[in-house]
């Protein structure tokens, strides 16, 4: 299991959010989540320009085993998606916190970020789940 980067914030449902220097929010799923899902074979990306809502489904990742909704940690507009995942969904398995990001949001309410778990809280959540 790779280290959880300290600059990330999390939903309990294992999505991460990273506030970039330009204020946009990058979204992906945690390394723990990709491990639980197993080999990913398909990612249904949101459309660029579409609106997403905090806590609502924005994308779908499918592993050999199951399909899982990906909830957006923040509300706003999707400004970019990770097109590489169309052909290589396994990037999420290989680098969930980095190259395996899923979409980028222009947040409409930055206050929502305060509702998210910080890296320590998330780590604790995952540890408790494992027991």
């Amino acid at each position: 299991m790779s280290e959880i980067p300290g600059d990330l914030k999390f939903l309990k449902s294992h999505e991460w959010a990273r506030v970039e220097d330009d204020g946009l929010v990058r979204v992906g799923i945690s390394d723990h989540a990709q491990g639980q899902l197993g080999d990913l074979v398909y990612v249904e990306l949101p459309e660029v320009g579409s609106a997403v809502k905090a806590g609502a489904g924005a994308a779908v990742v499918e592993s050999v085993k199951a399909a899982s909704d990906i909830y957006s940690p923040v509300s706003g507009e999707v400004v970019e998606v990770n097109e590489l995942l169309n052909d290589k969904p396994e990037i999420i398995n290989e680098d969930a916190f980095g190259e395996g990001w899923i979409f980028l949001v222009r947040p409409s309410d930055r206050g929502e970020l305060d509702e998210l778990l910080d890296a320590n809280d998330y780590e604790e959540l995952v540890e408790n789940e494992d027991h």
Binding site: G38, Y42, E44, E62, V64, A66, A67, N93
Partner: protein, 366 residues
């Protein structure tokens, strides 16, 4: 209480992701399910299938009993060690379980049945066996390792005692024989499997299972989890009990007609119901589906046809084909353009004859 096979600690030491599988704590993968799938298609992989139930039947009337119990004809078994795939049905013709029966002597047959149906199967078999005075004996002291893939047989043969090797090398498909493994351990080696590849399923006394597993690993056989086993058998066109058929499904509706022997004068359980449905017309059929677009077909998804709705039974991404395939049960008759409802989207799929993959290669038309 979850049950554990004798290889449980071995799986954990290999870093396996463990899941509950029909009440058993089993490895779903050891890292990458897809890599394990490819290892079996391209080289050799091994599965712990010790959760499966071995039942030995003894008695002078055992063959007569199996004529009554099984929908396939045990009289096809004439040669020592020969195996037969069959369903056992209830009186309504529904499938109680599917199994393999081995002929080990005129008064000794061995059954291997599913893990998830163990208690129900034992109760059913004991109830049916009583009038035939057949002794029904479960053999929990056995473990089972399936070694599958184009190089699987060669790797197993290399571990056998010299005196046994030529005989086991000549073992025909769907046949079994005893042999000595590493350190003289007694093995029951069957040339059977659930992957569409050649290979052996080996029954071994539990106390030798870890040593056999380690010897196979040293011979270059890759550990593979039940996740890969599921995608391999789906590609190979093999049914999974509980998903593709159960007690509410007649074999005609599960593409198991080839296992039904309507031989003259044999009154097996469920025969009357089977003949009745065949005469009346079978309302549903099981078909193969291929999704050429992106996405994954899954158990429970709705299938739309010209004759009404059906549903996906087994469905998954197929690693050998790099696209999704499925079995579906749909209304009989010309289905027209077939679509599957994936999260509210109607996605067109192709109806195909399966297996989807055989001996490592995609089948024609897939």
């Amino acid at each position: 209480m979850t049950e554990k096979t004798v290889l449980n600690a071995t799986h954990r030491a290999l870093g396996a992701r463990m899941v509950d599988f029909g009440g058993w704590d089993m490895p779903i993968n050891y890292g990458s399910q897809i890599e394990e799938h490819h290892a079996v298609r391209r080289d050799a992989g091994m599965f712990d299938v010790s959760h499966m139930t071995v039942i030995d039947l003894h008695g002078a009337r055992t063959r007569e009993f199996l004529r009554h119990l099984l929908a396939n004809s045990v009289d096809k078994l004439k040669v020592h060690g020969k195996a037969l795939y069959s369903c056992m049905l209830n009186e309504q013709g529904g499938v109680v379980d599917d199994l393999i029966v081995y002929y080990l002597g005129e008064e000794f047959f061995r059954l291997v049945v599913n893990a998830g149906t163990r208690a129900k199967d034992l109760a059913w078999i004991e109830q049916q066996a009583a009038p035939f005075e057949v002794q029904v004996k479960e053999r929990p002291e056995f473990a089972m390792i399936a070694v599958q893939g184009p190089n699987a047989r060669a790797k197993v043969l290399g571990l056998l005692h010299d005196v046994d090797r030529p005989r086991i090398e000549k073992l025909g498909k769907f046949s079994a024989a005893a042999a000595q493994g590493p350190h003289g351990m007694p093995l029951f080696v069957a040339r059977t499997g659930y992957t569409g590849e050649d290979g052996f399923e080996i029954i071994v006394p539990a106390e030798h299972a870890v040593a056999l597993w380690e010897a196979l690993a040293a011979a270059g056989v890759a550990p593979a989890g039940l996740g890969a086993r599921d995608t391999l058998r789906l590609e190979a066109g093999m049914n999974l009990y509980g998903q593709d058929m159960d007690e509410s499904v007649l074999p005609w509706e599960a593409n198991l007609g080839w296992t039904i022997a309507l031989d003259e004068g044999r009154a097996f359980i469920g025969r009357a119901a089977l003949e009745q449905q065949k005469a009346a017309g079978v309302p549903r059929v099981m078909v193969g589906l291929v999704l050429d677009d992106k996405g994954v077909l899954r158990h429970g998804q709705k299938v739309l046809t010209a004759n009404g709705e059906g549903e996906i039974l087994s469905g998954s991404f197929a690693p050998t084909l790099n696209k999704a395939v499925a079995f579906a049960r749909i209304p009989a008759g010309e289905p027209g353009d077939v679509r599957v409802d994936i999260r509210g989207r109607e996605v067109p799929v192709r109806l195909v004859k399966y297996p989807f993959v055989r001996d490592g290669k995609p089948c024609a038309g897939i």
